[in-house]
């Protein structure tokens, strides 16, 4: 297989794989007309920050038919966003840093002065 361009190896979990001649032809057809995975990765990252054009979204959908991995990648980018945005709520799970008592005193004093002004 080396050299030949094959988006779909033997144990491919995708909807369309090379299970028979018809599928093989279809996989090739779609593979040639949709962005390759490396590019899909870039596009999916962009999709997290801006809206993709309709045509790009259609191409992605078609690409997912032959590539379960890219679809997984898409899902995981969304999960990564959920995880990252939740970090501030879970800081207590890994951080024991605290303000020193003297820093707290300083702050209270400064706040007191600020209010008296």
């Amino acid at each position: 297989m080396s050299g030949e361009y094959n988006p779909s190896p033997e144990d491919n979990p995708s909807f369309l794989a090379r299970r028979n001649r018809f599928q093989t032809a279809l996989v090739k057809f779609i593979g040639e007309r949709t962005p390759k995975c490396r590019e899909v990765g870039r596009i999916l990252s962009q999709s997290m920050d801006s809206k993709l054009s309709l045509i790009t979204r259609i191409k992605l959908r078609l690409h997912y038919l032959i590539c379960a991995w890219c679809q997984r990648y898409d899902k995981q980018l969304h999960e990564l966003r959920k995880f990252t945005s939740s970090v501030p709520r879970h800081l207590d799970d890994f951080s024991v840093d605290t303000l020193s008592p003297s820093a707290k005193e300083r702050m209270k004093e400064a706040l007191g002065e600020d209010r008296r002004e």
């Binding site: 361009y5 390759k36 590539c67 990648y73 879970h90 800081l91 799970d93 840093d97 605290t98 209270k108």
Partner: protein
């Protein structure tokens, strides 16, 4: 001296302003967030103090709809964004090259996944994973492996939720550089979580 959280929450509902109490009840929590984002204790302290000052001045805007703590956190978020804005300068190029080698073997020459190294299915589900304290430590470690400037940009986008245009403007980064940085940060973090959490048999299942 952890502050009594529940007591703090109910008292907040009565909307009495006592900035000195804020220091005791929310100071550590705000400090942790600030320190996590700016890494330097003295800067984190300053940001927390500025947060309290701003809170005193704008306390009229606080209607008690949100909890006192999330109101203060919101102010601190803005302070953090301001901090990075004043720091803003062009990213050095070495930061952008950090992933090239690791990425090249993810894809075969034609640009498709090298399938043995393609994304695995993540199990268990995100909701289950998020219950585990150790997970957050793993994520923190993964974030700390990113080059600092890439991590800063990524977290401004994902934690402080700034729009990309805003980040470009504030940090003086070209849109293209920003896309590249965010893409590589996501790729690296996904990979790091997969290796250090989802592939780790100790974390698999319950």
């Amino acid at each position: 001296m952890p502050s009594p959280k529940i007591e703090g929450a109910t008292r907040a509902a009565t909307v009495t302003f006592d900035p000195e109490r804020w220091v005791d009840e929310h100071g550590d929590c705000l400090y942790r967030y600030a320190l996590f984002r700016v890494r330097r204790p003295e800067i984190a302290e300053d940001l927390v103090q500025e947060t309290f000052f701003t809170a005193v001045r704008t306390s009229g805007c606080f209607r008690g709809k949100s909890s006192e703590r999330s109101w203060l956190c919101g102010i601190l978020k803005n302070k953090i964004c301001d901090h990075f804005r004043t720091l803003g300068r062009e990213i050095s190029f070495t930061d952008l090259e950090f992933l090239d080698d690791e990425l090249s073997n993810k894809f075969v020459s034609q640009g498709f996944w090298n399938h043995e190294r393609g994304p695995l299915e993540w199990k268990p589900e995100a909701e289950v994973v998020m219950q585990r304290a150790e997970f957050w430590e793993t994520l923190r470690n993964c974030l700390s492996k990113l080059p600092e400037r890439v991590a800063d940009v990524f977290m401004l986008r994902e934690i402080e939720e700034l729009e990309t245009e805003q980040i470009c403007r504030d940090l003086n980064i070209s849109p293209n550089n920003l896309w590249v940085m965010l893409h590589r940060a996501r790729m690296a973090l996904r990979e790091c979580l997969e290796i250090n959490w989802f592939k780790d048999p100790r974390q698999g299942g319950e």
